[in-house]
């Protein structure tokens, strides 16, 4: 009985190690995920890079920027990415031999407040499971999930992938279910995701006249990572500019916390000797046709905003 148990345990360990390696290498090939696409870039040189959440991802048209400025550019923005994730992506992007001359880091109210309040899944840990040994990933996992979880994931083979089995799906082993190739949501050259949706009437005409007297509570972790990004830029001689992608003004202008965040960002940029460009103040932000919802530009808006952004890049 004991022999059989030991033999089974050994077989189980072999199976777990096999699956661990399988999913690890499978993850590297998942370039349909924006984060993995960024992590797979190596030894390239970009004059300009834009880093931030979905507002950067969907709001900046790199082709327009390239055409107007005649410079190479990349969109590093990802859906629901907090400053923690932004930092990890930038760090790993640079470690892979990529070079950036000028970084535009998106900072707004959502980037500053507590991550879990701003984003539904602020750190896409399941996309970094094969990189747990790397310092910045280790630090983030410990901050986000705690020591116990970190060591559980790093020491036990395969369990980390099993925990996210909706992503690391057994379906992968059955070609019958994977006949349809997954279409890329973003441009595989520029990294931008331009969405042609219009803001629905239900949002556009929603009664939103009340001014929200909410207060702004700056989250320590968010601030910690904002500072880390600035330090990383200095270490790599990257000129960093902070900027705010416009949000629909009917939404943005009506909260105390938004006004507070603008004041904070002006102060923060001065303290760190970097420029802060607040594109929210443009007249542009009141045009409904430019938005797909309150906080995201659509394809039309991204095109127009990128023209404006390119002009301001050339003016500096």
């Amino acid at each position: 009985m004991k022999k059989a148990f030991l033999f089974s345990s050994l077989l189980l360990i072999i199976a777990l190690v096999f699956f661990d390696n399988f999913w690890g290498s499978w993850l590297k090939r998942q370039t349909s995920e924006k984060q993995i696409w960024v992590l797979n870039k190596s030894n390239q040189h970009f004059n300009i890079a834009f880093l931030g959440s979905s507002r950067v991802y969907t709001g900046i048209d790199i082709d327009t920027i390239k055409n107007k400025t005649c410079k190479t550019a990349i969109n590093l923005g990802c859906d629901g990415a907090s400053l923690m994730e932004n930092y990890i992506l930038l760090k790993q992007f640079l470690r892979a031999g990529n070079k950036i001359d000028s970084l535009y880091l998106q900072l707004d109210k959502f980037a500053l407040i507590e991550m879990s309040k701003a984003y539904s899944y602020p750190f896409h840990d399941y996309l970094f499971l094969n990189r747990l040994n790397e310092d910045e990933v280790k630090e983030a996992v410990i901050k986000y999930k705690g020591y116990l979880k970190y060591y559980f994931w790093s020491l036990l083979p395969c369990f980390k992938y099993a925990e996210f089995n909706n992503f690391y799906n057994l379906k992968t082993f059955f070609p019958f279910f994977n006949r349809k190739p997954t279409s890329l949501e973003f441009d595989s050259v520029t990294g931008s995701r331009l969405i042609a949706l219009q803001m629905p009437d239900s949002l556009a005409f929603k009664n939103n006249n009340n001014f929200h007297e909410d207060s702004l509570v700056i989250n320590e972790t968010s601030l910690f990572y904002a500072n880390k990004i600035l330090i990383l830029c200095k270490e790599n001689n990257i000129k960093c500019t902070l900027f705010k992608v416009p949000m629909y003004s009917r939404y943005n202008d009506r909260s105390h916390s938004s006004l507070m965040s603008e004041q904070f960002l002006v102060k923060f940029s001065k303290e760190n000797n970097c420029r802060f460009i607040d594109f929210q103040k443009m007249e542009f932000s009141s045009k409904r046709d430019y938005f797909k919802d309150y906080t995201h530009l659509n394809k039309n808006g991204a095109g127009s905003f990128s023209v404006f952004l390119a002009d301001s890049l050339m003016m500096k």
């Binding site: 059989a4 077989l11 116990l148 559980f152 057994l170």
Partner: protein, 489 residues
């Protein structure tokens, strides 16, 4: 702390290791502290309620033995204490709500405020377990426990604290007084039970819950066939959820050498409703039988009294499950069906051995049990009626569409229709999991096959468990935050 949580894995490893490392004399203390920690993961201050019931019942037990002439008084005091706490936390708002409704009906201008209290987790379970102790001491079947710590452990023993099985003192207390050393075969047997429990909970119950919740959240927008399927899924979900919990509890306990009672015995293969209640939540059914049904007279006396006793037991059982009219209706329906079965059964006695009759009986019992679960799952009475309408109409609708619509794709109707999201690979996982579950249960139900399986080559058995582990790892839901359904009771 949930069994299906990361914290619990650590908790289990530490507690089990300490249990065997520590000397026998202080194991009770470690288990008691571990049980307190386990309970306090939910709402810490509610441990005081548990402490209060433990104190009342411990004192009542000792007093009953010391003053046998007054033991009835002490029993009554203990029952008042236990039932009082249960009524206050579980039923107070229900009564007030009904009084307010009656008041509104008669246009009274004032209403009584409801209490802002949260039901302590597993209250009905540990209250019933505590009550069984004082009743058994009163009856003389159990000696009063002198060791306060051991008695507290009897009520708080962590594997079965929040959702049973509701143990009897004769079974559990004596096991706490026995020194259990580590036994490898028992350890493996416990692990197998835990594994099987996790398979039921993580792979089947939580996966089915996604579809069931979708339909129950908006039953109006779903096709009757989808509603029917969701109801069947809920039947399986609640079985896998609850019996999965019981299996894990028994497995955890077995590893430490403490055997808990079997709570389920293939209930969905029951041939009638009485048979179902002999196989479903056995620890509660036998509790009601021993402490309510038999004291009321059981099946002795005339048929009217017998029927009355059954009706009382099932109404209380419904009320035990939850303070709402839906649960009371659920209990009443089971009671009514049991009474009808008892009256009608003698007329069908000749058919009892007929295999086709048996299969039809099983299918019909499952159909009715599933229909009654609708009251259990629906948020309110009116929605339950709406779902029942769709549930009953599903089979005629299916046959009507099947024969009248030439392009009717039945698989599409049950899987894709009305945005019902069971499709493709997901559907295959569900079907294969259910085949493993019911296939294994059926195989084990036949004595011959059971012994053949037990004598199988260790390699074959190990392969099955290896497959099960990998299957659970890659098909279980780990981020659903789905509590065990019976925790709410």
């Amino acid at each position: 702390m949930l069994f299906n949580s990361f914290e619990f894995i650590i908790f289990f490893i530490v507690v089990t290791a300490l249990y065997f490392v520590l000397p026998y004399k202080i194991r009770w203390l470690m288990l008691l502290l571990a049980s307190c920690t386990f309970y306090m993961f939910f709402i810490p201050r509610y441990i005081l309620i548990l402490f209060l019931t433990i104190l009342i019942d411990y004192a009542a037990g000792i007093a009953m033995e010391k003053y046998p002439n007054k033991k009835k008084n002490f029993l009554i005091l203990s029952l008042i204490g236990n039932i009082g706490i249960l009524i206050f936390f579980k039923y107070f708002n229900f009564f007030i709500d009904n009084i307010n409704s009656i008041g509104a009906f008669f246009h009274w201008n004032y209403s009584i405020n409801l209490l802002k209290i949260i039901l302590p987790i597993g209250l009905s379970f540990h209250t019933f377990q505590a009550m069984s102790y004082t009743i058994e001491v009163y009856r003389g079947n159990q000696k009063a426990e002198k060791h306060f710590g051991i008695y507290a452990l009897y009520v708080m023993y962590y594997p079965q604290l929040v959702a049973g099985p509701i143990e009897r003192p004769q079974n559990l207390l004596s096991q706490f007084h026995t020194n259990h050393s580590f036994n490898f075969e028992r350890f493996l047997s416990g692990l197998r039970l835990i594994l099987w429990g996790f398979f039921k909970k993580l792979v089947i119950a939580d996966r089915l819950a996604v579809f069931v919740n979708n339909v129950y959240d908006d039953p109006n927008s779903y096709h009757p066939i989808s509603v029917f399927l969701a109801c069947v899924f809920f039947s399986i979900q609640i079985y896998c959820d609850f019996s999965g919990y019981s299996d894990i509890a028994r497995g955890l306990s077995r590893i430490m050498g403490i055997e808990l009672m079997k709570n389920f015995n293939m209930p969905y293969f029951s041939k009638n409703i009485s048979d179902f209640w002999a196989k479903w939540h056995i620890s509660l059914s036998t509790w009601f039988k021993d402490y309510v049904y038999i004291p009321l007279g059981g099946n002795k006396g005339n048929k009217i009294k017998w029927i009355r006793n059954i009706a009382i037991v099932f109404l209380i059982s419904g009320f035990w499950h939850g303070a709402s009219w839906s649960f009371i209706t659920w209990g009443a329906l089971h009671g009514l069906l049991t009474i009808i079965t008892i009256i009608m059964l003698p007329f069908f006695i000749k058919l009892k051995a007929n295999k086709i009759w048996q299969a039809l009986s099983i299918a019909f019992t499952f159909y009715l049990v599933t229909m009654f679960w609708i009251f259990f799952r629906s948020p309110n009475f009116s929605e339950a009626i709406l779902i029942i309408n769709k549930y009953i109409s599903a089979i005629p609708v299916f046959f009507h569409d099947f024969f009248s619509k030439p392009n009717f794709l039945w698989l599409e109707a049950i899987t894709f229709n009305a945005n019902f999201a069971v499709k493709g690979f997901e559907f295959i996982i569900i079907i294969s999991s259910l085949s493993i579950l019911f296939g294994t249960e059926l195989l084990f139900s036949y004595k011959n096959t059971r012994s053949k399986i037990e004598n199988l080559n260790l390699g074959i058995k190990s392969s099955f468990y290896l497959f099960l582990i990998v299957f659970i790892l890659f098909t279980g839901l780990y981020h659903s935050n789905q509590e065990f359904i019976y925790f709410q009771f």
